[in-house]
């Protein structure tokens, strides 16, 4: 022991938690007409990621578009056994279109893990997570974490149509009970959802709520978490420069304290992307 201590002397107490590194691409396949799942091989630093954290991905240049800035992407799944990280992303603009061209054998230039992830109180019994669209990408690792911590998880997945529902399998494999609502089925509206959540809470009280990706879901959960006395966190997005808290570009307005009227800007990449729902201002 003493020898080890001596050897540690002069060595910086912490190594560097954020790494900029090439990650070998294992697969990059369509999961439906809009989304792709990117699976990469990761080393210890990447696998140390926690639920709710994200990576800042360099998108390869394509023709006229050099995709100068990186793109923030949540970690959809941390597979420590296989040494893999999963990203679930919507192909929409120049950057994500370029990401979609990555082939097995290519490398993904990723910076991370960055940001403050979810923090689940130790005694949490029942987590309710509600995700709309890609919001789910961020919530899936929370299910993994909550179940490992001994909590029960109910996941409500909201989408335009059945074909666009994603992540059901990842969540079920993690041990969550999954409830799907769709616009096509007319059960994704706020009134139907509120009814569902109230019945769920009556049967098995919810003490932690999490959401991402939809303003109306945030407002609903803000109301219900307050009424139920449950803690709540939300993962937010904003346009980013650096993802390291340096440029102060990625701000949104937050209440200075839970419930306070006075607002202040906070950096989504550094103070977030996961925030206390009571401080979050709906947009």
């Amino acid at each position: 022991m003493q020898m080890m201590k001596d050897r540690m002397e002069g060595v910086p107490a912490c190594t560097f938690p954020v790494v900029e590194a090439p990650y070998p691409v294992i697969s990059n396949d369509w999961v439906n007409g809009e989304y792709k799942l990117l699976v990469v091989e990761a080393e210890a630093a990447g696998l140390a990621a926690r639920a709710g954290q994200f990576f800042h991905l360099a998108c390869p240049p394509e023709g006229e578009n050099d995709n100068f800035l990186r793109r923030p992407m949540s970690i959809h799944r941390i597979d420590r056994e296989r040494g893999q990280l999963h990203f679930l992303y919507k192909v929409q603009g120049n950057g994500t279109r370029a990401l979609a061209t990555l082939q097995p054998g290519d490398t993904l230039d990723a910076l991370g893990p960055v940001g403050q992830g979810f923090s689940l109180p130790a005694a949490t019994q029942h987590v309710l997570m509600v995700g709309r669209g890609v919001g789910l990408a961020t919530l899936a690792p929370l299910a993994q974490m909550a179940i490992a911590q001994g909590a029960k998880v109910t996941a409500v997945l909201s989408a335009r149509s059945q074909a666009l529902v994603m992540g059901r399998q990842v969540l079920e494999e993690a041990g969550a009970s999954v409830h799907v609502v769709t616009d096509d089925n007319s059960d994704s509206d706020v009134v139907s959802l509120e009814g569902f959540i109230r019945r769920l809470h009556a049967a098995s009280p919810v003490d932690f709520m999490a959401t991402c990706g939809s303003n109306r879901l945030l407002m609903l959960l803000q109301k219900l978490s307050e009424e139920f006395g449950a803690a709540g966190q939300v993962a937010l997005e904003q346009r980013m420069g650096c993802a390291l808290g340096m440029c102060i570009a990625c701000v949104r307005a937050f209440r200075k304290e839970p419930g306070a009227e006075a607002l202040t800007y906070r950096r989504v990449c550094w103070e977030g992307p996961v925030f206390d729902m009571r401080e979050t201002v709906a947009w």
Partner: protein, 312 residues
């Protein structure tokens, strides 16, 4: 072994690479050891508390970015009590960037942050002078001179002046800063620019105008660093679009004694240590034993020969 140290006035830096103000925070310390840097230049502060501009604050351009942050600030007391102690854990000297609404406030703020741990103060004069119709101090030679005089009267720390590139005659402003007592010039801040999303017809940043930064603007700012270096005796620190050792060396050949790196750290946070290594490799390759000897050694085309060729 290459001697990478450079002198900026009375201050000796271990190497010529430092952060550009507003592009480094404690987060970069999660990526590499900031002691490797020649200096740590902190984000501009004002003494009044400010939230900064509304989002969106950033847009991507080709090989460049448009940023419109404003100067969010927690004031001088916060800077003294939190920012300085944080960066003191590293070996690199701390350069505190400041801004103010009036010439007098520049001096007052310089005095307030002249605390142990701060090695130099950088005046960001690209902000509006509230007593002169909001025209930036840095667009006016007299205002620039008076800002520096106000600061040198208020502190014994060296004053660096970061010039605004949004001027017609950079040499005149550079000379005014030197006359005011500046120890060094940083050339330059971001060029004023704008961009519109043609689908939504909205400006790409909420504040309408912002600064264009990154490699696309390097030739313009390199030209200004050259012109400033020609105009003054004090050291010039080159800044604008530097993202490789080659870019840094180009600035030094043009007359810069050191360089600041901004946007490139967003694209690749390890860029500054890589630039330092690359500069060393260049010196070895070119048999340069002291990096400081490189400053201003661009070899111009011979004027007579040019004239002869021109008359053919």
């Amino acid at each position: 072994m290459v001697d990478l140290s450079v002198r900026i006035g009375d201050l000796t830096l271990a190497n010529p690479v430092m952060s550009a103000s507003g592009t480094l925070s404690e987060g970069l310390g999660d990526v590499f050891d900031l002691s490797l840097l020649g200096a740590i230049v902190t984000k501009t502060i004002t003494d009044d508390l400010r939230e900064g501009n509304p989002p969106p604050r950033v847009a991507e351009l080709r090989n460049a970015t448009l940023f419109s942050i404003g100067i969010p600030s927690k004031g001088a007391a916060y800077f003294r009590e939190n920012t300085v102690p944080f960066y003191q854990r590293y070996n690199a000297p701390i350069v505190a960037s400041v801004s103010a609404n009036t010439i007098e406030e520049f001096g007052a703020l310089a005095a307030k942050i002249s605390v142990p741990g701060v090695a130099a103060i950088e005046a960001n004069v690209s902000c509006p002078n509230l007593k002169a119709d909001g025209m930036a101090f840095g667009m006016d030679a007299q205002a620039t001179r008076e800002v520096v005089q106000s600061m040198t009267a208020a502190t014994r720390l060296p004053i660096w002046v970061k010039l605004s590139p949004n001027v017609g005659n950079i040499a005149a402003i550079a000379r005014a800063a030197e006359e005011g007592g500046a120890s060094a010039l940083v050339v330059a801040n971001a060029l004023l620019a704008m961009a519109i999303d043609i689908e939504t017809r909205r400006p790409k940043v909420a504040n309408l105008m912002g600064g264009i930064t990154g490699p696309a603007v390097k030739p313009v700012l390199l030209r200004m660093a050259y012109q400033a270096a020609q105009a003054v005796q004090i050291p010039v620190i080159g800044c604008g679009g530097i993202s490789s050792a080659e870019d840094a060396i180009e600035y030094m050949l043009a007359g810069a004694s050191a360089v600041q790196v901004g946007t490139a750290s967003f694209v690749s946070p390890n860029i500054m240590p890589r630039i330092i290594k690359g500069i060393e490799a260049y010196c070895e390759r070119h048999g340069v034993s002291r990096i400081a000897d490189l400053t201003g050694t661009m070899r111009k085309f011979d004027a007579e020969a040019l004239a002869m060729r021109g008359s053919l």
